[in-house]
């Protein structure tokens, strides 16, 4: 179906992109409005004539936003590194080695990735409470394993399967053990897949809300999504600060997506397309 695109197509494309991006655009425009222009008649003006960075300053001065960013970064990074590390071994075995119970294991991995979080929250909450892990990094890293590990295994298995099997045969011929084959032949070839998996796991851990909401309730240990969501007070909602904070967390995401879009797409679709 490879046809050339006509001018009408580009119009459609522009409208589509505009609609998808509109909320971000509006938030960006609102984030530089002075407080008085966020309410009343002026609230619907697209462009402010008095742009200001006050909201951005306020986010860092009046809220521990930097701390939220740091917490999220630490938690998401550690979760990603450790789950991808553990998953890489399991995925290699499932994708490349011959043993019984393979499809059962993959079935378990897939079903666990479909578990609703709410079904595990009460025992996990009791567990972290019992061991004094509420309001700590470990208190979120452990629960995050529930979704990060199945996701890593699932993605890595599909990546490992794409590596040609002849390579292993050749290594075997040369007398390499399976473990040597793994480290010397497969792993170097799997680096792009591991990288893609890491990006997706990182995003999933960065965005997680329910565990973060219930387990890390102290200001000093909140993550970004919970922190921003809790900006809203009982009676007032500081829209200026919320807009600024949203822009701040969106920009790195936009950069990441622009840089790695090919990888992300290949990761997202790898489990769903038969090739």
């Amino acid at each position: 179906m490879q046809k050339k695109a006509g001018p009408l197509f580009y119009v459609f494309l522009f409208v589509f992109v505009f609609l998808v991006m509109f909320p971000f655009l509006w938030i960006l425009l609102s984030s530089i409005k002075p407080l008085s222009e966020l309410f009343g008649e002026e609230a619907f003006n697209w462009f402010t004539s008095h742009p200001t960075l006050k909201s951005y300053v306020s986010v860092f001065v009046n809220y521990p936003f930097l701390k939220y960013l740091w917490n999220s970064t630490v938690i998401a990074t550690i979760t990603t590194v450790y789950t991808v590390f553990v998953a890489a071994f399991a995925a290699y075995a499932i994708a490349r080695l011959d043993f019984k119970g393979k499809s059962v294991i993959l079935g378990i991995v897939l079903s666990v990735s479909m578990f609703p979080q709410i079904a595990t929250i009460s025992p996990i909450y009791m567990f972290v409470k019992k061991f004094g892990l509420t309001n700590s990094y470990l208190g979120l890293i452990i629960p995050y394993t529930t979704f990060a590990l199945p996701l890593s295994i699932w993605l890595l298995v599909t990546f490992f399967r794409k590596i040609p099997f002849d390579l292993e045969e050749a290594a075997k011929m040369d007398g390499a053990t399976p473990l040597q084959t793994y480290f010397k032949v497969i792993l170097p070839l799997a680096v792009p897949g591991i990288f893609t998996t890491s990006i997706l796991v990182f995003i999933a851990a960065w965005n997680e809300f329910l565990f973060a909401l219930t387990i890390n309730t102290a200001e000093n240990y909140k993550t970004v999504p919970v922190g921003i969501a809790m900006f809203q007070g009982q009676y007032t909602i500081p829209w200026g600060e919320i807009s600024a904070a949203t822009v701040i967390v969106t920009i790195p995401l936009v950069i990441m997506v622009l840089l790695f879009q090919r990888r992300i797409v290949s990761g997202l679709t790898s489990g769903s397309v038969k090739e």
Partner: protein, 431 residues
């Protein structure tokens, strides 16, 4: 060769083991525990119900903080009392002694009894594991009965002014009866209660409405977009990046963003919707039930349609273009090509995308929690939100766990149905 196979198999199990153990410990075990919790009247804010008790148990710390002093005080009273009161008090003293012996008849209890006694004598605090001991049902009932009688007798005597240390005695008697912990096992009572509770059915209905409507819109729109952009064009990478941004942003953050856009006074989207007549006035979006459900679905469609389009686009790209060429040579119309070639070959991609989206939508939490909190008047309260509220606002972990188990069962049913359609495609070895 056989040996080699064997060692390969052993290696495989060793490599898989850490992941499997972790999954078992952090995902499967908690689900089993959730089910177990749901069989108890388990409440964090009530000391007698803050742990799970299948049997009667005794809080030895409380028991030993009251029993010796009660006996001592009774002894003094007996020595001073006369006539009928003396007899009553003496018999009470004797009965308490008997029950105490009955409790200690059990070897394990006797051992712990001594242990806790020593700890208390050293003015230390016994740990939860040591101080709570399960006791024989008969002994527990005897103790309860004795304490009821004791409280009654002491209360009457105290009111008549026949006791020297009346208030102290009644206080100690109360303390002693508080040491008995009744089992809080309730079986399937939570489930029974919820199945007759209108709020649960409403939440299930809301969840279903949200899931069915948002997923169908996302499928149709996603498919349309995928078909349209399945061609070579300038700026492809940019479009793909645009598509990914709503997916990549934290749901909680995008929900807050939409809350601003929907705002009844200052929300730009609310204003445009009112201007083009989708709603009568701006405040309708977040203050009426229908409006709020629409708002929630609209946000979800915005966030996940692009993702759906991406999954389907990847499926479309695996269909060889030669098929379409052959079809058009045979004179098939565009619509015929779509129905006869695209749809059948896209079937498994569509089903996989639908499976993941349906499950995600059914578990929806972040979006609704931040955007509407389940309101107004529970009109957007989904089953996950309800379970969360019961657990963490009402601190009713038993009931909340029962709801969580219901979510789990629904999700299991949905996946089973989809996987039936998909067959074993999803986990089969593709080479």
């Amino acid at each position: 060769m056989k040996n080699e196979k064997k060692s390969e198999r052993r290696l495989a199990y060793i490599l898989v083991a850490p992941s499997l153990l972790l999954i078992l410990a952090v995902a499967i075990w908690p689900v089993i525990q959730s089910f177990y919790f749901s069989l108890f009247d388990y409440r964090l804010n009530n000391p007698a119900k803050s742990s799970l008790h299948l049997d009667y148990s005794l809080n030895l710390e409380r028991y030993l903080e009251s029993y010796p002093f009660l006996m001592n005080a009774l002894k003094q009273e007996v020595a001073q009392a006369t006539g009928e009161e003396k007899e009553q008090l003496a018999s009470l003293q004797e009965r308490l002694q008997q029950v105490d012996e009955e409790i200690r008849a059990d070897e394990e209890v006797a051992k712990r009894y001594k242990q806790v006694d020593e700890i208390l004598n050293n003015f230390e605090v016994p740990s939860e594991e040591i101080k709570i001991v399960s006791i024989d049902e008969q002994a527990a009932q005897d103790l309860t009965k004795t304490m009821q009688d004791a409280k009654q007798t002491l209360k009457t005597l105290n009111e008549n002014g026949q006791l020297k240390q009346g208030d102290k005695l009644t206080g100690l008697a109360n303390g002693l009866s508080g040491a008995i912990i009744e089992p809080n096992f309730v079986g399937l009572a939570h489930y029974k209660n919820y199945f007759t509770d209108a709020r649960l059915w409403k939440a299930l209905w809301n969840t279903t409405v949200f899931t069915v409507i948002s997923v169908s819109i996302e499928l149709v729109l996603g498919l349309a977009i995928a078909l349209l952009i399945n061609k070579a064009f300038f700026g492809r990478g940019l479009v793909r990046a645009t598509i990914l941004i709503p997916w990549a942003i934290p749901t909680a953050v995008s929900a807050l963003m939409w809350k601003f856009l929907y705002d009844g006074q200052n929300g730009i989207v609310a204003k445009y919707f009112a201007d083009i007549g989708i709603i009568n006035n701006m405040s309708e979006l977040l203050t009426t039930g229908v409006g709020a459900m629409f708002a929630v679905i609209f946000s979800d469609v915005w966030k996940t349609t692009p993702y759906m389009a991406l999954l389907l686009l990847a499926g479309l790209q695996t269909i060889p273009s030669s098929l379409y060429e052959a079809a058009s040579i045979d004179g098939a119309t565009k619509w015929q090509q779509f129905v006869k070639i695209t749809l059948p070959l896209l079937k498994s991609s569509i089903l996989v995308a639908l499976l993941f989206r349906t499950l995600d939508a059914f578990r929806v939490f972040d979006l609704i929690f931040v955007l509407t909190g389940g309101g107004p008047a529970n009109s957007t309260e989904t089953i996950s939100i309800l379970a969360y509220k019961v657990m963490f606002s009402q601190t009713n972990f038993g009931g909340g766990s029962a709801l969580a188990v219901i979510v789990f069962i629904c999700v299991a049913i949905i996946s089973t149905i989809y996987i039936k359609f998909l067959g074993a495609d999803l986990i089969s070895d593709r080479k």
